[in-house]
Symmetry: C2
Subunit: 228 residues, 2 copies
């Protein structure tokens, strides 16, 4: 119950709707549906028609892209509050996989865009969200092109630390597995594992369990994350 209120807050305070009036929000509510998604299923697939857009209320998602030869590149991980499905194309350019049982707000794309046409605030918010996708991808590009394995892992931990909800920036909940991390950072699972071991040995992080990591030396982690 307390969690449900927190979830609603996440919805209304999402960057996407920041600055919208009560009336606007009611119109949004008119073409919005709630959706539950089980971990292990897909929200939508690469190349499917982009009929809807989504806000993640709770749970965790993963954006991935598969090449012709079947190899996967993980593009991003989604936290509550994130907006998914803003695409300039009519088709999605990636698949969205559910890592943890999720609750989403689901908007009809055409209604959404139409409202955005009339509402400069929303329009601007959407534009900025889209821009952030590109900025993020460019940062990732830099990480893959320039950084070493353990620096890439720091980059991920730094990102997760900033984005996860709640006030605790130290304890990081790794809701993805090692293969997902590897495919995100352009590494193998073994190298990712070794990177964690190295960071642990150097006293920068503490690994409580494979999916629960604490940042011990935040500054050193940040330095490594933005190295090169």
């Amino acid at each position: 119950m307390i969690q449900d209120i927190a979830q609603q807050e996440t919805f209304f305070h999402s960057r996407l709707f920041k600055g919208l009036s009560k009336e606007d929000m009611q119109e949004v509510a008119g073409f919005t549906k709630s959706k539950r998604l089980k971990a292990g299923s897909y929200l939508f697939r690469q190349h499917s028609k982009a009929t809807h857009a989504y806000t993640l209320i709770s749970g965790a998602l993963m954006l991935e892209r598969t090449s012709q030869s079947g190899r996967r590149q993980v593009i991003d991980f989604s936290h509550p509050g994130n907006f998914i499905g803003i695409t300039n194309n009519d088709e999605f350019e990636f698949s969205v996989y559910c890592l943890r049982d999720a609750h989403l707000q689901c908007y009809v794309r055409n209604n959404f865009l139409e409202l955005a046409d009339r509402n400069p605030v929303l329009k601007n918010n959407i534009r900025r969200t889209g821009s952030n996708v590109l900025t993020h991808t460019l940062d990732q590009l830099f990480a893959l092109g320039q950084k070493k394995a353990h620096e890439r892992v720091c980059y991920l931990l730094h990102e997760l630390s900033l984005r996860q909800s709640g006030t605790d920036r130290e304890t990081i909940d790794l809701f993805m597995n090692r293969q997902d991390i590897a495919d995100y950072l352009g590494l193998t699972i073994e190298t990712v594992s070794r990177a964690f071991s190295k960071l642990k040995k150097d006293g920068i992080i503490a690994v409580d369990s494979p999916h629960r990591v604490r940042i011990v030396e935040h500054e050193q982690l940040d330095t490594l994350a933005s190295a090169r």
Copy 2:
């Protein structure tokens, strides 16, 4: 003179203005200026105000991004016909450097966006162009994350082959230097050089001069370009 006609053609047949009426084009012309840029100078810098947008008529540009630590990631190379400066943000997320004396069409951003608001065709074209930037970046991400040095070089050659104007898909004009290629592919100049040598030895390309390469085995090149 003949070249000038060709350049005009490039402007009017640009994907950006595809499907626009004569009247629309006249309005576009109203807030459009011609601009010449010397090789070695910047069209605009990262973080500068995005007041204008551009179409490249002739010459060659390079999109790059610099990290806090001063390291450079080349994002893309621009050919005649390409649209530059579509950004969701108010600031540019990258710098644009002129590799070869360029002729550009230069639009006032606000007028441009305002017309786009009224004109669904143009709006759609802009949206698609923006989408292509993301798609391209995602492809590059995949290349950096998954491919080997010589495969990345093939990926670049394949791209250049597809995009360069003219009918000759075999002879490739490398208007950037080895450092630019290295920073685009996340490699060092030595590795890039060795990759060219290997492809030459394997009979896939012929290197007429450092900036002039012929594709001998197109199929093999494509296979390597899309490997993994």
